[in-house]
């Protein structure tokens, strides 16, 4: 936890409501997100029990498995879920643009789940279904393995920083507000939203306290409330199982189950849409759209791959795939952290407090300074001095950038610490055109209020890794390529 977020939490306690830690929205919100509230059977991490899913607040679809231990019923659930998800994926792939010689869909699927455990459930569900066979032993409807691949795609995409393909609502909210409760309590969507957006006349802590009553606010899943399990769910499942197929008794039992599960899911469903409204009220940060384009591009590529008959995602990454993925994850993480700070002063505050960035006033400008450049010609390198009261723990020759002046880099030449202020001298380069005298506006003016940060997005060179079939001996040699077999269908769902 950073000093800023600790401070924000303390402020939230005092104020009795959540405290903003971001001025802008850093996640993309689709116009038609697919909201998915899954429930699992207690004791089995990926045995689906029920789910509420849909793209419109007033039209949720309830799916349920009347006997979660029954394998066929599970696949029935997966098939009906697949109908909805694949329809949604299809609806996102209607319009394309051409960007950098690539067809990119104008839309991409966005799956919203209540919490981090929900993301884990999506991952498990994808893993349980993507290798199923549509022929041979234990055949499943053709849409089931396809569902598995799309769910896997979304959950793998969600590992990238800044991706909005699959979001846990609690994390999305937690990125923008600090509450006066613990991180564990923040994982409860009802309590978190109670702090952020309490009902009129109720304080955050009271709203969060009310959210702890499972009768009013059932858990947001995937695990259910144990009391509900024992007193309502277990008898209802038993009644359904004991009744003969197609008997009126069974229909009644199904109705009871449906009512009970709807009662468990509906409050969370409403919360999800309330949370979406709360987030939509924040203006989106500039790079949100750029990052969503990355999501769209990734979606388009995978869509193409699926259309071309590509194999399901591997069970495990091979050595080369893992290394490549780690590098990509790191690159996107760096980029995301840096751009987020550049676009949001409250995020930048975290960098200022650790001394990686500073804010101050320009007190001296030598704008026409020219020095001999590398190729013998003189180049324009203005010097400016910024007076700041921030810690500014930066070493000489560190490169910095101002959020308002991307494309121009400052190099720290000198740091002069005085009792009441710190004077940082910067040598500027870039962003001043080739003219001998920098055009007006390209160099910070006297008295300009400016922020400089050492964390800014940098281009980085892609390392070339060996092809997988030439994995060196140090990493176990080339892996065996995957070929789908009927054994995949025998895999237990657990």
């Amino acid at each position: 936890m950073t000093a800023i977020s600790s401070y924000a939490r303390a402020r939230a306690v005092v104020a009795g409501r959540a405290f903003s830690i971001a001025t802008r929205r850093h996640v993309h919100l689709s116009d038609t997100p697919l909201v998915f509230v899954p429930l699992a059977m207690a004791g089995e991490a990926s045995a689906p029990l029920a789910a509420m899913i849909g793209t419109q607040p007033d039209k949720p679809t309830l799916l349920l498995v009347p006997q979660p231990r029954n394998r066929d019923l599970r696949f029935g659930f997966a098939a009906s879920l697949a109908d909805i998800v694949l329809d949604y994926v299809h609806s996102c792939s209607q319009r394309v643009e051409i960007s950098a010689n690539e067809q990119v869909f104008l839309d991409a699927p966005q799956l919203l789940v209540p919490n981090a455990a929900g993301v884990g459930f999506v991952k498990l569900l994808g893993r349980s279904t993507r290798y199923r066979r549509t022929t041979g032993p234990y055949p499943v409807p053709p849409q089931v393995p396809l569902l598995g691949r799309w769910l896997t795609h979304l959950s793998e995409r969600s590992e990238f920083a800044g991706s909005s393909a699959l979001l846990a609502m609690t994390s999305a909210l937690g990125m923008h507000w600090a509450t006066g409760q613990s991180a564990l309590e923040d994982a409860n969507l009802a309590a978190l939203l109670g702090w952020i957006d309490p009902p009129d006349g109720v304080t955050g802590p009271d709203a969060a306290l009310a959210a702890e009553d499972p009768l009013i606010w059932p858990p947001a899943g995937p695990s259910t409330d144990p009391a509900f399990d024992n007193e309502i769910l277990a008898p209802a499942i038993r009644a359904w199982t004991d009744a003969a197929t197609d008997s009126p008794k069974r229909h009644r039992a199904l109705n009871t189950l449906e009512r009970a599960l709807r009662g468990q899911l509906e409050p969370t469903w409403q919360l999800m849409w309330r949370a979406i409204d709360v987030l939509r009220r924040l203006p989106a940060a500039d790079s949100v759209d750029t990052r969503w384009t990355t999501d769209r591009r990734d979606f388009s590529r995978y869509h193409q791959y699926v259309t071309d008959g590509g194999l399901p995602q591997a069970r495990r990454d091979g050595a080369v795939a893992a290394a490549r993925k780690l590098r990509n994850l790191e690159r996107e993480q760096d980029l995301y952290d840096a751009t987020r700070a550049l676009e949001d002063p409250l995020v930048m505050a975290n960098y200022r407090i650790t001394g990686a960035a500073f804010q101050g006033t320009v007190v001296q400008v030598d704008r026409d300074r020219r020095v001999p450049g590398g190729k013998g010609r003189a180049v324009t390198r203005p010097l400016i001095v910024v007076s700041t009261t921030d810690p500014a723990h930066l070493a000489i020759s560190t490169k910095v950038q101002a959020p308002t002046r991307s494309g121009q880099t400052g190099t720290i030449v000198q740091i002069d610490r005085q009792p009441d202020t710190t004077l940082v001298t910067l040598e500027l380069s870039g962003g001043m055109t080739a003219a001998k005298v920098p055009p007006p506006g390209t160099v910070p003016e006297m008295d300009e209020h400016i922020t400089y940060t050492s964390a800014y997005p940098e281009s980085f060179r892609k390392v070339e890794l060996p092809p997988p079939d030439q994995t060196p001996w140090t990493h176990g040699g080339p892996p065996k390529p995957y070929t789908p077999t009927n054994d995949d269908a025998q895999e237990v769902w657990e």
């Binding site: 590992e159 990454d317 893992a322 290394a323 780690l326 060996p466 140090t474 990493h475």
Partner: protein, 436 residues
């Protein structure tokens, strides 16, 4: 039987050279405790291979390490042989290499084909293509990440991996458990991955730490090298700190200096308090101790030779960068004193170190603060004495925060455990504690 450190070290080194040169193994791993002559081994292996007419590549992790090695190699290389120092673009010719007659510096590997030895950072090697060297030496291999090794492994046929397993593991900004348990997990150290994929490779251990004083042998070995251990090259009494001036009055700082001079260890215990990371009192105490070592005219004796402890022979270490920044500001009048984080102090050596304890003033003990490698680096850089500054209550903090890291299937358990290592070190420091 008496232990003859020099003979023992020589025997192990000869074994390593024979094992590697025999060509029977694709890789040979050498584990080395702090200051056990790792660089000497690298230089000796490189020179003997080059002198036998072989071509080899050397991989180190930072430009500084590469330049250090290049200088050492340049001095030992027989006439007629040339070292090629491959640099990153825009790096230029490092100043201390400019005057060396047997060193070529270039940005392109193609321009260095005539060199018997080619040396560069791992990051640079990842961009070299097509050429294959029959031999490679990877220095500080435990600091290198497994995915980095993957990028350059095609460049060599056989390799000698040298490193200190007790130091900090490589680091990633990404937290992801998806590769846990895989033998090729890209987030582990290069050596860990190498040995998991090739469990039959020979592993040698350098037995003697030439850097650490005898006073550090027991605690550093039992805390950080619990199963392998090591001996120090010097015995009790071989190293000594003395002061030119006497203490004036009775201050805790002078008391901790006296303790460090006699026992090799000192712990200045500030009153218990929860603080920000840049605890102003602790920072001031570290700065006071450092300055006092210099003001008192400290002299370090090792065997028969004595030399004054100058600012460049002192290092100040801390866990976080903002702590380092605060310490640097507090020691701005002594620019020659090295002040840095544990990560950057790896592989360095000083007469005296002053350390801000990573757990000082904290309310919690996270995996970062408990990491054994961090404490190991901080408490094993010294030839003479190590003084630690911390708030009271570190023992209690440890007791309330046992390590709770999840255990992953198929993942080798890492020893030493950071929590246990911290307990061992604190147990030792308590005996040398001076209340501030």
């Amino acid at each position: 039987m008496t232990f003859d450190p020099a003979a023992e070290a020589e025997r192990v080194t000869t074994d390593i050279l024979a094992d590697f040169a025999s060509g029977r193994h694709l890789g040979v791993v050498v584990d080395s405790p702090p200051g056990a002559g790792k660089s000497t081994l690298v230089v000796r292996t490189a020179v003997s291979l080059a002198a036998a007419g072989e071509r080899l590549m050397i991989v180190a992790q930072t430009n500084e390490q590469v330049d250090d090695l290049t200088c050492n190699l340049s001095a030992k290389l027989p006439a007629g042989l040339v070292i090629g120092r491959l640099t990153g673009s825009g790096h230029g010719v490092p100043q201390r290499l400019a005057g060396l007659p047997n060193v070529l510096v270039d940005e392109k590997a193609g321009n260095l084909v005539s060199c018997e030895i080619t040396i560069a950072t791992a990051a640079k090697w990842a961009f070299v293509k097509d050429t294959v060297w029959p031999w490679a030496i990877v220095d500080e291999a435990y600091q290198m990440r497994s995915d980095t090794l993957l990028a350059l492994a095609a460049r060599f046929e056989r390799a000698l991996f040298v490193g200190d397993p007790g130091q900090l593991d490589p680091f990633s900004v990404v937290q992801n458990d998806r590769w846990r348990g895989l033998t090729w997990d890209p987030m582990q150290s290069a050596v860990a991955g190498l040995l998991r994929s090739n469990p039959t490779l020979p592993v040698h251990r350098l037995p003697v730490s030439w850097r650490l004083p005898a006073s550090a042998e027991q605690v550093v070995a039992s805390a950080f090298y619990p199963y392998t251990g090591f001996r120090t090259g010097t015995g009790p009494g071989d190293r000594e700190l003395s002061f030119d001036t006497r203490a004036f009055g009775r201050t805790p700082v002078d008391a901790v200096l006296a303790e460090a001079a006699t026992s090799g260890w000192g712990f200045l215990e500030l009153p218990a308090r929860h603080t920000m990371r840049t605890d102003a009192e602790a920072v001031a105490a570290v700065a006071d101790i450092t300055r006092r070592f210099l003001d008192r005219g400290t002299v370090a004796r090792s065997g028969d030779s004595s030399r004054p402890v100058t600012p460049d022979r002192i290092a100040v270490g801390a866990a976080h960068r903002d702590q380092v920044a605060a310490l640097r500001t507090a020691l701005a009048d002594l620019p020659d004193v090295t002040v840095d984080t544990a990560n950057r102090l790896q592989g360095r050596e000083y007469d005296v170190t002053v350390v801000l304890h990573p757990l000082s003033g904290r309310r919690d003990a996270t995996a970062f603060h408990l990491e054994a490698g961090r404490l190991c680096v901080l408490t094993s850089r010294h030839r003479q004495a190590c003084v630690v500054v911390g708030r009271a209550g570190i023992r209690e903090l440890l007791d309330t925060h046992p390590s709770a890291e999840p255990v992953h299937l198929h993942e080798p358990v890492k020893f030493p455990d950071g929590w246990a290592a911290n307990q061992t070190v604190m147990g030792h420091l308590e005996a040398h504690s001076i209340a501030a």
